[in-house]
């Protein structure tokens, strides 16, 4: 089984910030908007390099989304930055009407997604945002797994015309995606080849899935790990091909099982070749304060949970 090396822990939000910095130099139509979280979103370099193209909106996320929609009229490509909770739930109607329904070329970039936001607790830990965003017609939904992939995705979405939700996180996590790997929206990345189970993971759970695959290999179970960075449009072909081979699937995501990647995979299988599936996800609950590692453990979002789910799903074949 192919092994992956962590080249050093880095936060995905820095991948966004560095990608945005690069875009600032290469694409003069890119503008950045922030709702009083410039440092948290790692947007300082863009702000310093291009003050005329950086817009501090203040703590007014609804206004930020509307301004971003308006800025597209005249050819700008706005990247909005705030926490995932304030990027989605707080401004759902603004995104729905002014961005998605109006087909505006706005890139909604959301940090601190999921439970690994940590100590701030459930008010800030959105576990419903993938569902909210994927339900909007025309919205592309991306959840990247590490620094390199987040940077590549940030560059890629500037070239894609249409609304995009780009979800990433706060903590420093393993960075293992090759630096030069091109980001293709809607194209799954197969990380390992296996025959007994398909593990479809997104975001921070991708590294956990790789760790789980090593544990499973030691136990004689061959796992095929697929990184689904684009939840919508979903790479159905990659999933169906893999599950056609392995006969079962575990989905893993830092999100509620309702509305998340797992449901999208389940629909794909139900419409084509139904197969046993287990969902590594939060179980329709809010989070709480704690360190990211403690929370991943308590809410069953780590490699151990994926191993357990894999053994269960194989027994159901």
């Amino acid at each position: 089984m192919k092994k992956y090396t962590n080249t050093g822990n880095k936060d995905t939000r820095s991948g966004f910030g560095d990608g945005l910095t690069e875009l600032g130099k290469t694409n003069e139509n890119v503008v950045a908007l922030c709702a009083d979280l410039t440092g948290s979103l790692k947007m300082n370099a863009f702000k310093d390099n291009h003050p005329e193209r950086f817009f501090q909106i203040g703590i007014a996320e609804a206004n930020m989304i509307g301004i971003a929609a308006g800025m597209t009229i005249g050819g700008k490509i706005p990247f909005t930055g705030t926490f995932a909770n304030f990027s989605t739930g707080r401004v759902y109607d603004q995104i729905r009407q002014s961005v998605a329904y109006s087909d505006k070329n706005v890139k909604i970039c959301a940090s601190h997604a999921g439970i690994t936001l940590g100590e701030d607790g459930a008010t800030h830990q959105i576990l419903e945002d993938i569902g909210l965003m994927k339900m909007l017609p025309g919205m592309t939904v991306i959840n990247t797994c590490d620094y390199n992939q987040t940077k590549a995705a940030t560059l890629a979405i500037a070239e894609h015309h249409g609304p995009v939700y780009l979800r990433f996180g706060r903590p420093k996590v393993a960075n293992f995606t090759p630096e030069d790997q091109k980001f293709e929206i809607g194209k799954a990345v197969q990380l390992t080849e296996g025959t007994d189970v398909t593990i479809v993971a997104t975001g921070h759970l991708v590294w956990e899935a790789l760790q789980a695959a090593e544990t499973l290999e030691a136990a004689g179970i061959s796992a095929e790990v697929i990184n689904i960075h684009t939840i919508k449009p979903l790479d159905e072909e990659a999933i169906l091909t893999s599950v056609g081979k392995t006969g079962c699937v575990v989905t893993a995501e830092e999100h509620n099982f309702l509305g998340g990647l797992g449901e999208s995979v389940a629909r794909t299988l139900a419409l084509n070749t139904p197969a046993p599936q287990e969902f590594v996800a939060t179980q329709d609950t809010f989070g709480e304060s704690g360190t990211p590692a403690q929370l991943m453990e308590k809410y069953g979002l780590n490699a151990a949970s994926i191993v357990k789910a894999t053994k269960k799903v194989i027994s159901r074949k």
């Binding site: 503008v31 005329e52 193209r53 817009f55 909106i57 203040g58 007014a60 609804a62 206004n63 930020m64 989304i65 509307g66 301004i67 971003a68 929609a69 308006g70 800025m71 597209t72 009229i73 005249g74 050819g75 700008k76 706005p78 109607d93 603004q94 729905r96 009407q97 002014s98 329904y101 109006s102 087909d103 505006k104």
Partner: protein, 281 residues
């Protein structure tokens, strides 16, 4: 510049369009539409600098956003009569497969519409965004928006108002349709707006009023004054005092026609008060 008589004739025809559109489908919002007919006719035919044809990007021309999207009949009529799309298409208002949706949208590609509106309170933010892009592009044209007074109860409006003044968005004129009525009754009864002049001034806007917002000359003068105040470091707010249902006697002085269509007899009476001028669609 268009003379007042030809604008009056256009307003009368727009009123007929509005009434016939909502009557046909027995739905839609005639009250606010009629109240803003003079304003939008004057804005589109005398005030705004517009290019031929329609480009979504609106570069090197003035741009207007309707934030109170429920008065779609009036904007559809004004756009059609301005040549953005065939006037015959007004016949499809609110019908299946139409570009003239209940509330305006870009989704079906109707020329003249640059943003969906209907869920209230969003258009000021959008207009500010386009105004900022015009500044970045070195485009000296203006951005206009129209809002219902009841719409000012939405919190996003005040986020936007604070931003526009704080960031000197001075290539922007927001007009408030100040008819003091909303669906459930008088704004003073539903949720009092207080002094809009004091509120917008406190937020840092330059505010002026058009006391008779259904008089073409008053609108011309007021908007000329508003334009003269752009480029001076402040966004400009126009309080347009209008009469909901203007031009149809039984629709005036009441909020009852906010979202109600006339029946056959009422339509006949309303049309009789507004004789055909430019030809019905």
């Amino acid at each position: 510049m268009s003379d007042n008589k030809s604008l009056e004739n256009l307003v009368t025809q727009v009123r007929r369009d509005i009434l016939r559109m909502v009557h046909k489908v027995n739905s839609g919002h005639p009250g606010g539409s009629l109240g803003c007919a003079e304003f939008l006719v004057t804005l589109y035919n005398d005030i705004m600098k517009l290019n031929d044809g329609f480009a979504m990007d609106g570069k090197e021309e003035d741009v207007f956003f309707l934030s109170n999207g429920h008065i779609s009949p009036v904007i559809y009529s004004v756009l059609a009569r301005r040549g953005y799309f065939p006037v015959e298409e007004l016949n499809t208002f609110r019908l299946l497969d139409s570009r003239l949706q209940g509330h305006p949208t870009t989704h079906e590609g109707l020329p003249g519409i640059r943003i969906a509106s209907g869920s209230l309170g969003q258009g000021m933010s959008v207009a500010i965004g386009t105004a900022l892009t015009k500044k970045l592009n070195g485009d000296n044209h203006l951005v206009y928006s129209l809002h219902g007074d009841g719409e000012l109860q939405e919190g996003q409006i005040w986020e936007a108002a604070m931003y526009a003044a704080g960031n000197k968005v001075d290539n922007y004129i927001a007009t408030i349709d100040y008819n003091k009525k909303q669906i459930d009754g008088a704004t003073d009864d539903v949720l009092p707006l207080g002094s809009l002049t004091a509120k917008f001034e406190a937020f840092g806007w330059d505010v002026l009023a058009i006391e008779n917002g259904n008089d073409i000359q008053a609108i011309k003068d007021g908007l000329a004054e508003a334009k003269s105040r752009t480029g001076k470091g402040k966004p400009v707010c126009v309080l347009l005092h209008t009469e909901m249902g203007n031009g149809v006697d039984f629709m005036m002085h009441t909020h009852a026609w906010h979202g109600k269509a006339p029946n056959d007899e009422q339509l006949e009476s309303a049309l009789a008060q507004n004789p055909e001028t430019l030809g019905d669609y």
